[in-house]
């Protein structure tokens, strides 16, 4: 039973490298997207899937993320934050950030690199 629990921990905690986008809110993972297959796993009540779209609802607000399996890219297609900065990107690597919602869509498996400009 301990072994089973350990195996489950490994499954949840090891970030998949390459072709996966991790969606987190305030550092907690809410969803994992396989960019090749389009499969979306959710880890939170606030995250729900409809086809190739993932909706993330938090106390801070809502973001709707769409996966493009042809381009192996993700983009934010709807957000109720004021600036909607997160909706400007269509990425197959790197990170999309919605700061007011403390949401990161991370496609490189690491904490997003600081960006200035």
């Amino acid at each position: 039973m301990i072994a089973a629990l350990a195996a489950v921990s490994v499954f949840f905690c090891v970030p998949k490298k390459g072709g996966a986008a991790e969606v987190s809110v305030k550092g907690e993972r809410v969803a994992l997207i396989d960019l090749a297959s389009g499969e979306i796993q959710t880890f939170s009540d606030g995250a729900s899937v409809d086809g190739n779209r993932l909706t993330v609802m938090t106390d801070a607000g809502k973001n709707v993320i769409e996966i493009d399996t042809d381009k192996k890219a993700v983009r934010v297609v709807d957000a109720d934050c004021v600036g909607k900065e997160c909706m400007n990107f269509d990425l197959s690597s790197g990170a999309i950030i919605c700061a007011p919602h403390s949401l990161i869509i991370n496609i490189s498996g690491e904490i997003p690199s600081p960006k200035v400009g």
């Binding site: 490994v10 949840f12 090891v14 907690e28 004021v82 990107f89 950030i97 960006k115 400009g117």
Partner: protein, 378 residues
């Protein structure tokens, strides 16, 4: 009730404890430890910019630390915004000859701006606010804009038609930070509006200030001090993605990406390795609109009343002091590359990355440079 617990209960509790230990140790092993607040955390909005902190696995980070940061962002916004009724708004409401009591934060920023105004030959001046508003770059234009003031024009697409010359010269005449008086009394610090108002077509306009070209750097300095007091080291701060403070990343430096000013998708032009440093950028691409063949951008030249005519697309300043970096990044754009190259010699302790069309001039090593750009080390 009997004394102590039954043997069966003890075994169950021990088993659960053992499982919990295995689970958490496996989690820690795979880097999922969530002691305190980690990762990306939104701290609030400051002068229309999103402020966030990204904490990299730092055990000193706590709910109290984050709460202290959020409280500071809120205080700075209330004090320094042109909106609401903080110090800046109160100064802006003054008539010529009046004074208002302000906090030491505001007074120090004004004094700093006055010093830099002299050092940069007038390239930076917070009293350009009426010009910023005239050209369409104040907060009134952030979301839904409707013409309401006598000098307002209706938009044509994204662009705003040219303002009338009489308003440009009128608002230029009230642009002068030297006319803001700062005086310390026994009962507090006061700002004085010593600049006479100007009249256009029967309407009086008073001098107004906007500290957004230096205040983000000041806030990043304040947040950096809070992090130091809580012992948080592994993090970075981002204020509107234009003023950053890079702490440490697992004791090392952060690879900091610089955005390509000419690329709409915000792709990178290069990167620098920074540890315990502030970086601030200004760029003509941040806020602008096209009017016929000309790009009108938000960085006003305080000596002409129009957006700066410059060959620089962006300027980044790196140093320990966030306010200085913030102020100088704006000043360098106004100066243009030739004047800037001479000016930066006055600051050997700082680093600079100046971007022109197809060319990057940098005093610091860059980890990569985008194709199509040449790199000149200064």
């Amino acid at each position: 009730m009997g004394k102590g617990r039954s043997v069966k209960q003890i075994r169950t509790v021990s088993l659960i404890a053992a499982l919990a230990m295995v689970f958490s140790s496996v989690s820690v092993l795979f880097g999922c430890s969530r002691d305190g607040e980690q990762g990306l955390i939104y701290l609030g909005s400051f002068l229309s910019s999103d402020v966030y902190i990204c904490i990299y696995d730092d055990a000193s980070s706590s709910t109290e630390f984050i709460a202290a940061c959020k409280k500071t962002v809120d205080e700075y916004e209330k004090t320094l915004s042109v909106k609401g009724n903080g110090d800046v708004a109160a100064f802006n409401d003054l008539r010529f000859g009046e004074k208002v009591k302000v906090s030491s934060l505001t007074a120090e920023l004004i004094e700093y701006a006055k010093t830099l105004n002299e050092e940069t030959g007038g390239a930076i001046d917070p009293t350009v606010y009426m010009l910023v508003d005239l050209w369409g770059f104040s907060y009134r234009f952030d979301e839904f804009y409707m013409p309401e003031k006598p000098f307002d024009r209706a938009r044509i697409g994204d662009a705003l038609p040219l303002p009338e010359e009489k308003y440009v010269s009128a608002f230029l005449s009230i642009t002068d930070i030297k006319a803001v008086g700062v005086k310390r009394d026994q009962d507090g610090i006061y700002l004085f509006k010593n600049c006479p108002s100007v009249a256009v077509d029967g309407t009086e306009y008073e001098q107004k200030i906007d500290l957004s070209s230096i205040a983000k750097g000041a806030l990043s300095d304040a947040l950096k001090d809070i992090a130091a007091s809580y012992g948080v080291k592994n993090y970075y701060l981002s204020l509107g993605m234009s003023s950053l403070y890079l702490g440490e990343k697992d004791g090392g430096a952060w690879e900091t990406l610089l955005v390509d000013p000419k690329d709409d998708s915000r792709a990178e032009i290069g990167s620098v390795l920074l540890k315990n440093k502030s970086i601030s950028t200004s760029g003509v691409y941040e806020k602008n609109y096209r009017l016929e063949d000309v790009t009108v951008h938000h960085i006003i030249d305080p000596s002409t009343g129009r957006c700066a005519e410059t060959d620089l697309l962006s300027a980044a300043v790196i140093g320990e002091n966030g306010v200085l970096a913030d102020a100088l990044s704006t000043a360098l754009i106004v100066m243009g590359s030739e004047r800037a190259k001479e000016f930066i010699k006055n600051y050997p302790e700082l680093d600079f990355v100046l971007v022109k069309d197809g060319e990057i001039l940098s005093t610091i090593d860059m980890s990569f440079v985008k194709e199509g750009y040449s790199l000149t080390r200064l």
